[in-house]
């Protein structure tokens, strides 16, 4: 039952806000709908912890420990982002960058976007998974171009076309998957159900499945932002409104990677080789290294953190590619940490750029003087994402690197080099932004920094101590992914 609430609330929110989204209290209504979604997700999570994996709605939805943790994370970050966007969007409106009509579009699309991601996470049907991923893209295209500046339109067009092509390749992969499945499961709706496929994965035709996986990886990988398919990502993150950057980075990339992992489980079962894992390791490692060196060249703060997202998604993909219980555990942990930390950073960056009136890092100075909370939020977030202990990112990165040393020693120098370069460049850039000299005015509305410190607090807590039930939960999911 919870599942229908979980999917129904964002949908209802989308419709409601499309009709009434330009009202004065629309931002609060948006946050309320997100809170309701979070409660539904919490109820669902509670149910799964109590009863274990389950199928709902005649097999149409399947919830296990792998996707329920992503559902909880998605609903949580969606809620905090809605809280953040409340003052942020008001300030944007006062700066004259938005009008009522666009704000209505923003609120409505935001809810639909969250709903589409939750559908992608919970559906059992690989075809519906594709449909939901595409719906999530479409919902965000107009959000990226919300400011209607030439640069934002260009970014949105690039996002639309590149992700469109990517997702078309994924559709072909899905067709191939169905083609292999149909031979064993018979034609009709059930042949694309993941649970059915998982049951017969050893009998699926290996040649077809390996071809299918290549298409699925390249297709969904475009959305994960894996290099060399990443070129839409920095543009979309830099030119869209900051709450959108936060949810794209913190949530959409995860959901796309989730789709890849569901496919990988099937392909591993059919092939019995490391082909899928090796491909993922290759893409992942390339993304980590490329992104680290691109970070160094950025002048726009949101672009820089967008590249940092590519780096971290690459790291997670690499870890999933290695496979095995420890690496999967680390990858899942890192997914959580990255979502929480990166969205917190975007919240802080959002207010910082509003204050300075620019996204150029050279022009943002001395945050800590005029608005200490923004300054500290940005600094702590940066330290956390760079993997400084005791934050949780350190724990997951440490696990990934030690596993890599054990199993694939050749990869460790690349990883360490990339992490080092990223550390030096990001820290060097952020430090003057926070501590430099400035005479910037204050913001007209009280910035929403509670979400920043809430996220960072969670990351810090998880770095020091992972509650046993959470660890169990990750462990179960890691075993499920096998490899």
């Amino acid at each position: 039952m919870e599942i229908f609430w979980l999917l129904g609330i964002p949908l209802a929110g989308g419709v409601f806000l499309a009709l009434w989204g330009s009202r004065r209290h629309a931002p609060e209504i948006n946050a309320l709908f997100s809170l309701a979604t979070l409660l539904a997700a919490a109820a669902l999570t509670h149910r799964i912890i109590e009863d274990g994996p389950m199928m709902v709605g005649a097999g149409w939805f399947f919830i296990d420990s792998f996707n329920v943790f992503l559902v909880a994370l998605t609903a949580f970050v969606a809620f905090t982002t809605a809280l953040f966007s409340r003052p942020y969007m008001r300030i944007e409106q006062e700066h004259g960058r938005l009008n009522d009509k666009r704000l209505r579009l923003y609120h409505s699309s935001y809810q639909i976007f969250i709903g589409a991601m939750l559908l992608a996470l919970t559906t059992n049907n690989m075809g519906i998974l594709w449909v939901a991923m595409e719906a999530a893209t479409l919902a965000t295209v107009l959000l990226v171009s919300l400011y209607r500046t030439p640069a934002s339109l260009e970014a949105a067009w690039k996002y639309f076309i590149l992700c469109g092509v990517g997702i078309a390749l994924a559709l072909f992969g899905t067709i191939l998957l169905y083609f292999a499945a149909e031979k064993i499961l018979g034609s009709g709706g059930t042949a694309l159900l993941w649970t059915h496929l998982n049951g017969v994965k050893a009998q699926l035709e290996p040649t077809v499945l390996s071809l299918a996986f290549v298409f699925l990886l390249v297709g969904y990988g475009t959305k994960v932002g894996l290099a060399p398919l990443h070129s839409w990502l920095p543009d979309a993150h830099a030119e869209g409104p900051t709450p959108v950057s936060a949810v794209l980075s913190g949530l959409l990339l995860n959901v796309a990677l989730y789709a890849v992992m569901r496919s990988k489980v099937l392909v591993d079962g059919a092939l019995g080789t490391d082909m899928a894992g090796n491909l993922m390791m290759g893409f992942g490692l390339f993304s980590v290294v490329l992104a680290a060196f691109m970070i160094k060249r950025q002048t726009d703060v949101k672009r820089m953190f967008a590249y940092s997202s590519i780096e971290h998604m690459g790291l997670i993909t690499f870890a999933f590619g290695m496979g095995g219980a420890v690496a999967n555990f680390a990858a899942l942990l890192h997914m959580t940490m990255h979502s929480l930390t990166k969205s917190a950073i975007f919240f802080a960056v959002g207010h910082a750029t509003q204050k300075a009136g620019t996204q150029l890092m050279d022009d943002i100075r001395g945050l800590i003087k005029t608005n200490p909370t923004i300054g500290w939020g940005l600094m702590l977030g940066t330290i956390a994402i760079l993997g400084v202990p005791p934050f949780g990112v350190f724990a997951s990165e440490f696990l990934i690197i030690t596993t890599a040393m054990h199993e694939h020693p050749w990869a460790t120098p690349f990883l360490l080099l990339a992490l080092g370069v990223a550390f030096a460049s990001i820290f060097g850039r952020v430090q003057p932004m926070v501590f430099g000299e400035t005479e910037l005015p204050r913001l007209p509305h009280q910035p929403a920094l509670a979400p920043v410190f809430l996220h960072l607090g969670l990351v810090l807590m998880l770095g020091l101590f992972i509650p046993p039930y959470l660890a169990d939960w990750y462990r179960q999911a890691a075993e499920l992914l096998g490899g």
């Binding site: 594709w130 067009w157 092509v165 169905y178 083609f179 035709e205």
Partner: protein, 220 residues
């Protein structure tokens, strides 16, 4: 031997689809491109209906009707209106000249047939021989997207690619499950709708639909 007879029609239509793809690749006028896209949809719908009839796969009828409704009637109508409203029906030069594009296209077709060979060998459908053509359509549409610099031709390329994918699904497996096809159709419809809004935004901001204006976001 009635089946063989139907099959011949399907093969004929497949050849027609491929020809239309090449015609689209060489077409410089937007309106003519939309017309070709409508014809491609019509050929696809007909071939899907014939496959449905000859193999008794009833859900393919829905798929054919959906193609007819969306890709032959609704979308071309919408594009015609868009082109008229925006007055963009001028001759547009693609980035690579047309003879070269055609030659690349031929290479792609050969590549597509090779790629499809192992799959169609395993396939048990009567239409498996057309899988190579479906792959070729996908690749040719992709090429069209790369070589065009205007917004509407790029999107028509994208939709033609979708046509190719549908055709691939029909030839390899007699189509995807109905829910999935409905979902895909819904996404495509919403996509075209989003595009409509988007094109007006681009037009308002740049005074043109030429994507050459949109090359500012580059790595320095």
């Amino acid at each position: 031997m009635t089946l063989a007879y139907h099959l011949q029609i399907v093969n004929l239509l497949a050849a027609l689809l491929l020809l239309i793809s090449f015609a689209m690749l060489s077409q410089r006028r937007v309106v003519a491109l939309v017309t070709l896209f409508a014809w491609q949809g019509a050929a696809l719908a007909t071939s899907t209906a014939i496959v449905a009839w000859s193999t008794d796969q009833h859900h393919l009828y829905y798929s054919a009707a959906l193609t007819l409704l969306l890709k032959v009637i609704a979308m071309p109508w919408y594009f015609y209106r868009l082109v008229r409203k925006l007055n963009v029906n001028r001759v547009v030069e693609p980035m690579i000249n047309i003879p070269t594009t055609m030659l690349i296209g031929i290479v792609l077709v050969i590549f597509a047939f090779n790629l499809a060979l192992p799959i169609s060998e395993i396939s048990g459908t009567v239409t498996r021989s057309t899988l190579g053509i479906a792959m070729a359509i996908v690749l040719l549409s992709f090429l069209m997207m790369i070589t065009r610099t205007k917004a509407i031709p790029q999107v028509i390329g994208f939709l033609a690619m979708e046509n190719g994918l549908f055709f691939a699904a029909t030839s390899a497996t007699y189509g995807m499950p109905l829910v999935v096809e409905l979902g895909v159709a819904l996404d495509v419809l919403v996509g075209v709708f989003v595009l409509g809004i988007f094109i007006f935004q681009i037009r308002e901001t740049f005074d043109s639909l030429d994507l050459k204006h949109m090359e500012k976001l580059r790595e320095k």
